[in-house]
Amino acid sequence: MKKYRIMGLFSNFREAFRVVEDIKGGKVSGLKLDDVSTMSPIEHPEIDEVLGARPSPVPKFTLTGALFGMTFGFLFLASAQATFLVQPQGGKPVIPLPSNIVLTYEMLILFGVLFTLAGFLISARMLTKRPAIYSEKVGIDQIGIVLELDEKSYEPAKALFKSHGVLEIREEVVK
């Protein structure tokens, strides 16, 4: 069976969300909520409401990065100081905690930020090839509802789009 990816572009956001709600309500047989994704010009908190909670693992990366930065930072500094005994004393100990706290703090933030960035790139699937199905209008003011479906639900899905006043439908054959 052929697999399709179709996108309906809407300028009326409320109607677009109704499409998703209809799919959620089982109006198109064979389409689940997991098959739906959206493309939007802005960050819509409403999308989460209609699509349901989908996970975002970025905070886990952040926590890992911060903990790594903290541990690595302190141990790095302390071991550098401990092997570098011909160093200025100024009456201070070889491993001075106050200054190491300052630097550990900076390392915590630096690695936290870098890991967050990595987490974003990985979990948002950035740097992947742009699929053929994309519209520049998403960058302006239209919202795209993207459905992954097979031949069986192809026509009903298009009909659903049309009933909600879709402006344009784009499609590609996945396989």
Binding site: S37, I47, L51, R54, P88, V113, T116, A124, R125, T128
Partner: protein, 468 residues
């Protein structure tokens, strides 16, 4: 009065912002040439200093530091309000930040890049600058992690990395818009920079989390950076430097000068790019009120520093304070007090606050005051420290002035390049702002937003960014 015209068409937002990035006109090139000329002054001075030694800036014993370090703090300070305010306002959901945060964050990054030059310029053997970095060598030599200067190196590189990433990540959706509307080399650039942004829900979801987490990191980071810069002084033993209140005082001063710089750039961008729709008087007013509040916090911290020095009655510190009041540097000190504590009262008056030319002049005066403040932190202490035989008055030489002057050109050049390559108003966030403000207003929301815009091609709304 509304912060922004809520009936603005979204295609119009794209069109206006993309228009600001079009091939520049003559005025722009004149500005670039001016900046390059200013940089040239600094480069000539620096080459001279590099070849012949630090003495030609009239640095001397005991004035080992002077306006290089003062300007360094000035630029670091200016870098603070962009990112810090953007992050704080983001976390507290103050959405009026949205039209103005982009250039403010760019200002952060560029003033950090300017500030970062000064420690390099001011050291005696700058070809050995990299010794400050902790790299592994077979000689087993490390930098001295006790030194506040090494903390500076850590803090500034962390801050530069983080704030540049914060700026960049916040810009990705806009870069995707640019990508969709560009041709030529610009297209290639934006394809690379937008990292394949499509605006799908997965991306937005992770984007939102990432942006919030970055904001959470940047607030304590920004505070720590200027505290660490203040440690250059507070950690020393010198009277007038060894002050417990320096970290908050520096942070307040940083926010202060940064806010003033935001107002300056706000006025310039509004005027030159005709951003009246986005950089509205209402937002200017909010920024001015914030600046006024920060100015008063700064004034308080300033006065409390004098009061505690006076009350503490430490002979040396008191002498430094008195020398600030009526010593050789007193005119500058009082000018700083005037610019920093008296001038901001114009921000409290509605009539002035709404008058753009006044605000432009005021913001420049505030920043003049803040530059003088940094100078008045560094120099009077060196002039009147513990040992009376080393008391000395020194006026910086031409070499120093030329380099300080050139740093403004460098900042200006970076900023000029930025506004032509990157969108200086956040398109997607202005849309969000408009959307949420209208959000529950009425059924016609969408219809109003999407009406076709005159003079913009209906298909893509692109004015077209030519990449020659």
């Amino acid at each position: 009065m509304k912060d922004i015209n809520e009936d603005i068409k979204w295609a119009q937002i794209n069109a206006d912002v993309l228009r600001s990035m079009e091939t520049p006109r003559l005025g722009y090139w004149i500005a670039v040439a001016t900046c390059v000329a200013m940089i040239a002054c600094a480069v000539v001075a620096e080459i001279y200093q590099y070849k012949h030694g630090m003495g030609y800036g009239l640095l001397n014993w005991p004035h080992m530091w002077d306006i290089y370090i003062a300007t360094f703090i000035f630029w670091i300070g200016m870098s603070h309000s962009g990112t810090l305010l953007s992050a704080i306002l983001h976390i507290i959901h103050a959405d009026w930040r949205k039209p103005i945060y982009r250039f403010a964050e760019a200002m952060t990054t560029f003033s950090l890049m300017t500030a970062g030059l000064f420690p390099i310029i001011h050291i005696g053997r700058l070809w050995n600058m990299y010794w400050v970095l902790p790299y592994v060598t077979d000689r087993g030599i490390w930098p001295n992690f006790r030194s506040p200067l090494v903390w500076d190196a850590f803090a500034i590189s962390t801050y530069l990395t983080s704030s540049a990433l914060f700026l960049y990540i916040g810009m990705i959706p806009d870069l995707a818009i640019c990508r969709d509307n560009a041709r030529g080399w610009r297209k290639k650039l934006y394809i690379a920079l937008s990292l394949g942004w499509r605006g799908d829900d997965r991306q937005w979801r992770n984007f939102r989390r990432t942006y919030l987490l970055m904001a959470c990191f940047l607030i304590p980071l920004a505070v720590s950076v200027h505290s660490i810069v203040s440690s250059d002084f507070a950690m020393s033993i010198m009277p007038g430097w060894h002050v417990t209140t320096f970290p908050p005082y520096f942070v307040a001063g940083a926010l202060y000068s940064g806010c003033a710089a935001i107002i300056t750039l706000f006025v310039l961008l509004r005027y030159f790019f005709r951003f009246e729709e986005y950089m509205t008087i209402a937002i200017l007013e909010k920024t001015c009120k914030l600046t006024f509040a920060i100015a008063m916090a700064w004034t308080y911290l300033n006065l409390i520093e004098f009061a505690s020095t006076w009350y503490g009655h430490d002979v040396a510190s008191k002498e430094v304070l008195l020398q600030k009041f009526y010593g050789p540097y007193a005119p500058f000190f009082w000018m700083m007090m005037f610019c920093g504590s008296v001038v901001p009262f114009t921000l409290a008056i509605r009539k002035f606050r709404r008058h753009i030319p006044t605000m432009f002049v005021v913001s420049l005066l505030l920043n003049l005051g803040m530059w003088l403040e940094r100078w008045m932190i560094v120099t009077p202490t060196l002039a009147n420290a513990y040992h009376p035989i080393a008391w000395d008055t020194m006026w910086p030489g031409m070499v120093q002035w030329a380099i300080v002057f050139g740093s403004f050109g460098w900042f200006g050049l970076l900023f000029l390049v930025f506004v032509k390559i990157f969108p200086s108003v956040s398109m997607y966030e202005v849309k969000e702002m408009v959307y949420h403000r209208r959000g529950h207003a009425g059924k016609d929301t969408e219809e109003v937003l999407h009406r076709p815009v005159e003079g913009v091609r209906a298909t893509t709304g692109r004015p077209g960014l030519e990449g020659a």
